[in-house]
Amino acid sequence: MTLESVPLQGVEALFPNGISRYAVGGLLVGLGTVVIYAATGISAGASTFLESTLSYVSDQSRFQQYVASRDWRLVFTAGIVLGAAAFAATVQSGVVTTSLYQPGSTGELYEVAGVTLWSTDVQPWRLFGGGILVGIGTRLGKGCTSGHGVCGVGSASKTSIVGVVTFLTVAIGTATVVAALGVTP
C-alpha cells in the first residue's frame, strides 16, 4: 500500500489491494490484444474459443461457422493458459518480486515442484452453474469481457458498450443477492 495521508483513508478502504496490480495486468491484457491486432488485424476475444473448439466434435452449423479460426483460437487459449503459468512460476512463486504486485489473501496457495500454485475456495456448484450461464450468455450476447469489454470498448463500439453495461449491472446485482443469501465463498 502506497497511499498514506489521512484524507486518502476512504480511498484505501475502496482499494484494499491498491490499483497497481490491476492496472499493470490490464495494460498487459491490452498489449496482448494489440500484438495480435498489429500482426494479423484480428480483434481476438476469448469466448469464441468455446464454440470454435466445439466444431471439432459437433456438426451443428453454429459451431461449423468457426472452422476457419478454430486452430488459431486454440493457440490463443494455450497462450493464455501458459502465460498465466509463467506468472505462477515467476511472480506468484516469489522468484520475481515487484512493488507493483499485491499478493492479497484470497484462495489457497500450494506448492508443486517448487512452483507456487493457487486454488479457489469458491464452491464447485457456483463455478459449474455459473459457467453454464457464462457459456450461454457470452455466445448469445456476441462477446465476453475481452470481446466486448476490451476489443469492443477499445473500438468505441456502441453494441459492446451496451453489452458491457448490461452484464456488469446484472453481475453486480446477482453477486449481491448470492452474498445476501449467505452463500460464501
Binding site: I19, R21, G25, G26, L28, V29, G30, L31, I36, Y37, A38, A39, T40, G41, S47, S61, R62, W72, V75, F76, I80, G83, A84, A85, F87, Q92, G104, L117, W118, S119, T120, V122, R126, F128, G130, G131, I132, L133, V134, G135, I136, G137, T138, L140, S146, V150, C151, V153, G154, S155, T159, V162, V164, T166, F167, V170, A171, I172, T174, A175
Partner: protein, 152 residues
C-alpha cells in the same frame, strides 16, 4: 483455408502469453477477487478491463494510420463492429448472472487454469455445456427458418 504466414500462429501465441500473464498478474483469474469487486469490497478490478480497453483503443486507432494492412495476413485494419439486437441484451444479462454467481469469465478461466486452479475445470466444463446448449438450439432454429415452408 489459405496458406498463412509461418509466423501467424507464433504471433497469436505470444499475444496469448502476454494476455494470460496480465490476467494472472491482475488477479482477475481469481473468482474471489471478481466477486469482491461485484460486492463493492475492492474496486480495483475495472482498472483491468478499462486499462486494457485504453491500450487496445490506442492500438486500434493508430495502426490503420501507420500501415494499410496487417503484415501476417494482409488483412486491412478493420473495426469489426458487432450489430446490435435483442440478443446483446438477453445474452449480456445471462452472462451477467453467470459471472455474478461464479466470479469467472472465459479468458480469466483459461488463465485461472494456468495459475494452478484445477477447480476452475468446473467452470470451463460449464462454459462448454452452455455454449453447446445455445449452439445446438440456435443451429436447429436457423435450420427451421431456412427450410422451405412446404407445410403451408
Amino acid at each position: 483455408m489459405p496458406d498463412r504466414h509461418p509466423l501467424f500462429k507464433p504471433l497469436i501465441f505470444v499475444g496469448g502469453l502476454i494476455f494470460g500473464f496480465g490476467l494472472a498478474f491482475s488477479h482477475m483469474a481469481r473468482p474471489e477477487v471478481v466477486l469482491n469487486f461485484l460486492q463493492f469490497e475492492d474496486l480495483g478490478l475495472p482498472f483491468v478491463m478499462f486499462g486494457a480497453a485504453i491500450v487496445s483503443g490506442i492500438g486500434f486507432a493508430l495502426l490503420p494510420r501507420i500501415r494499410d494492412a496487417a503484415p501476417l495476413t494482409g488483412d486491412p485494419y478493420d473495426r469489426r463492429l458487432k450489430s446490435f439486437d435483442r440478443n446483446v441484451l438477453v445474452g449480456g444479462a445471462v452472462f451477467g448472472v453467470g459471472w455474478g454467481v461464479s466470479g469467472i469469465c472465459p479468458g480469466a478461466a483459461y488463465a485461472s487454469l494456468g495459475i494452478g486452479n484445477v477447480t476452475i475445470l468446473w467452470a470451463l466444463a460449464g462454459m462448454f455445456v452452455g455454449a453447446y446448449a445455445q449452439g445446438y438450439w440456435r443451429s436447429r432454429a436457423d435450420a427451421r427458418e431456412s427450410a422451405p415452408t412446404s407445410a403451408d
